[in-house]
Symmetry: C2
Subunit: 149 residues, 2 copies
DNA sequence: TCACTAAAAGACCTTTTAGTCCATTAGAGA
DNA sequence: TCTCTAATGGACTAAAAGGTCTTTTAGTGA
């Protein structure tokens, strides 16, 4: 569904938030290990998240990434749109440039409701709501079941 | 949402079916013009559709592409899965290899219903059902509103 | 059977996505 | 202020997606 970059960004941000809630500021090496992503690529992605202003970073000893608790919660949609645009949430299933209720493609009437449901989902869920779920339910994971595999 | 190749394949197949219903067998040049896709790439895609057995082709004068009316209707899902696999309809939104009700990612409970709705949609709709809609409702299109643009 | 037509095959090119590596910058703490 | 550490920046590589072009193959019908 989403691009690798979006998936990695979401997992990394949720992991950072769970650690922040535990008064920790994880660094690249730890994050990449925990969420099982390529370290260099993850570093590149988090750099972009910092530039977007979604998170902040601290260099040097005990440095790492963290959310500014003053800011309002960050929706999944803002993260995804900053990476891959909003075609997923607005576009036509048949790939038409212009497709709406007035001039629909043959799939439009069926497709639009599902697409809109996806839009609502990522608009309403936030990195923070995901992190809370993750902390409150031990069953919920950000990686594979068995890291030794 | 879908790859370009899937979008072009769906539009081409629906167009072929609408023309077949009018006792015509369109060729590449006509198809690419009508659905506004790159001709060479469209040819490549239709070759693959023939190899998959989804459509048949006829060389030479009055040649072109057509559906075998003996066969049962072709679901959108079969077309899409043959091109890009089924990750869209089975995969995890966070990109985890293992993610289900027992061991969910933080998005699973919200994401799975929307993903399943998408799966139902493409499983139930067929190239033929799309073609019928297209023929019965003049408002429905497979290209832009104004081809002169 | 010849000429024409249109699909098939396959090599090739371009752009985007995915990912690596190394040198630089800057903060923390001793 | 020195040293260690960890993020930053930017050049680079690899693979996949998207797309083109030219030659070959195979029907059609005159």
């Amino acid at each position: 569904m989403f691009k690798k970059e979006s998936e990695y960004a979401l997992r990394a941000l949720v992991y950072i938030q769970t650690q922040n809630m535990n008064t920790r500021r994880p660094g690249i090496a730890e994050i990449a290990t925990e969420i099982e992503t390529p370290p260099s690529f993850t570093a590149k992605i988090l750099q972009r998240m910092v530039k977007q202003g979604f998170i902040e970073s601290q260099k040097g000893i005990n440095g790492g990434y963290f959310f500014n608790p003053e800011k309002k919660e960050l929706s999944l949609k803002r993260v995804i749109v900053s990476i891959e645009g909003d075609n997923l949430f607005c576009g036509c299933g048949f790939g038409l440039k212009e497709c709406d209720n007035e001039n629909p493609c043959p799939l439009h009437n069926q497709y639009a409701p599902v697409r809109d449901a996806m839009n609502d989902l990522v608009s309403n869920e936030t990195i923070q709501s995901m992190a809370r779920k993750s902390i409150n339910d031990k069953k919920i994971r950000l990686n594979r079941l068995d890291l030794s595999k």
